[in-house]
Symmetry: C2
Subunit: 145 residues, 2 copies
């Protein structure tokens, strides 16, 4: 297969992934939470506890802006800042109970939509999908590269 076509295939694929994730996550964002704030919460939910710098790096948001958004989120009681004993400059961020509940609910909705999306797949097909995810994750979409 020639590289041109391969590249085109990848573009089409990533576009589809973006569209589908948009569909899956559409409307799950609670009122009063901006898109950027939601994406930060999602990141915290998956990787907690995290530092401010980690959020800034991984989500490509400048430190001042990360700090600002995080301040708003803590003011809304959705996450908590914990001091780090070994390094008193750092702060570990994690979801508060309210924040955790909120994200659980969001993930639940997304999960339902996802299951609905693959509900017609047989067990073998699911295994196939599973293997395909492994392949792509390890050989193409390995972000540590």
């Amino acid at each position: 297969m020639d590289k041109e076509a391969f590249f085109h295939k990848l573009v089409t694929f990533t576009t589809a992934v973006h569209e589908v994730t948009f569909d899956l996550t559409k409307d799950v964002r609670p009122e009063g939470i901006t898109p950027v704030q939601y994406s930060i919460l999602e990141y915290i939910a998956v990787s907690q506890p995290v530092t401010l710098s980690q959020i800034s790096d991984c989500k490509n948001i400048s430190m001042p802006n990360t700090s600002r958004e995080l301040k708003k989120l803590t003011e809304k009681n959705l996450c908590e800042k914990l001091d780090v004993a070994e390094d008193r400059r750092k702060q570990m961020i994690r979801l508060s109970d309210a924040g955790q509940a909120m994200m659980n609910k969001a993930f639940e909705q997304i999960g339902e939509r996802f299951l609905d999306r693959i509900k017609d797949s047989s067990t073998e097909e699911l295994e196939e999908i599973n293997r395909a995810l492994d392949v792509l994750q390890s050989k193409v979409f390995n972000s540590g590269k």
Copy 2:
């Protein structure tokens, strides 16, 4: 495999796809083009010719805002509006020569980075990746669903 773990795997995967596409496309956006404008140009490049409504639908941008951004893009001579004979309300949008050249250059850069990313894969692995893309595209990330 239980659904919980499967879902988590999907979340991890889509996150990785987002991160990698961010890396691949980072810095290719020409000066003076906003992120939204670039994403519109990308869509036009792949699907041209398209109508304003198609852009609005596919990119989830309201018609007034699509119209506004497209106006800016035509003013920059990056795309052209063509009247449609059969329906004089409609306009087909396509890239101008300058716009096409710009996007070719951007895609070239992205392509290079992509090839670099898979350069260590053997022919069999590429075939494997290719099949994996097909599987996921058809069974999970089929946006027409």
